[in-house]
Symmetry: C2
Subunit: 174 residues, 2 copies
């Protein structure tokens, strides 16, 4: 399964939220997410464009592997997620295996669904406000995601391909 | 937390089971366990005496890291366990991170508790019958575990320090 996803930086989440409600989007809820990112013991994920994330949100803990991005515009990549019972035990096992925590990303996320799209409004500590648009599936076109962003009043120049982790660490290809 | 544990090879699980019942041990149940063992992408667990195991048993899935053995007689080692939601997702994430499955251990395990000890009667596919004695704690003495084995009619010469994985792969220090 691919995670088909595009992200854009916005000045105001409120404006996008008003646009979403106007279009009849369904509000799914708000969640505080704390993500710990780990580097691999013998390859550099900053080079291979992979990521390993341990997320704590709403009482659940999720371990997620993300493969490299598949095109030059969107953030679409292979993703495998695993619900785990304990943040602390997962962190300990990763440490024993030589995975090194490189950063924590903290954000408040509000989620809406609109047709086949999931729209996430993120307020990210130290980084600012972003809109992520996501679609699950096996096929996608970057152009289709850009058009959907445009329909929310977000232009192509606002697209941010770097992950929050890359932005925090000052890495990535922009 | 240490996993304080000793293992011995036996001819007959029935004889040990009779001895346990005689002593008033409590029967905890029987379970089929299938364990997949993985090697590390950049260090050889056969050399470092570590292990990473993904266990499927009784509808549950557990990921466990085991550190090197701490003494010359018992199998006592550091152990960190994590319940996970999906065997397949865990296997996929491990594969993406470069962990290689090296063997599967299949066994039928019957468990008894007797005082502070947990006694496991294992019938292991391709290997035979074994008794494992386990105690949770921070301190232990190998001698104490040997005495407990002796009380079940199992001598010191029956002690097997190699893991089932090492026995299957023909590795270890015996």
């Amino acid at each position: 399964m691919l995670e088909i996803e595009i992200k854009a930086r916005v000045q105001s989440l409120e404006a996008v939220e008003a646009e979403l409600r106007e279009k009849g989007a369904r509000y799914l809820g708000e969640e505080e997410q704390v993500d710990a990112y780990f580097n691999h013991p013998c390859r550099d994920f900053a080079q291979t464009d992979e990521a390993l994330r341990l997320r704590r949100a709403g009482g659940r803990v999720m371990l997620t592997y993300k493969g490299r991005k598949l095109d030059a515009v969107t953030k679409t990549r292979e993703e495998v997620s695993l619900a785990v019972e304990s943040y602390e035990a997962a962190r300990q096992i990763l440490a024993k295996l030589g995975f090194v925590e490189v950063a924590k990303v903290r954000k408040l996320r509000r989620r809406y669904s609109l047709g086949e799209y999931l729209v996430e409004l993120d307020f990210v500590a130290d980084l600012g406000s972003f809109v992520e648009v996501e679609k699950k599936g096996e096929t996608y076109s970057p152009e289709e995601l850009l058009e959907f962003l445009a329909s929310l009043g977000i232009g192509r120049d606002a697209v941010e391909r770097r992950s929050y982790l890359e932005l925090l660490l000052g890495e990535g290809d922009g």
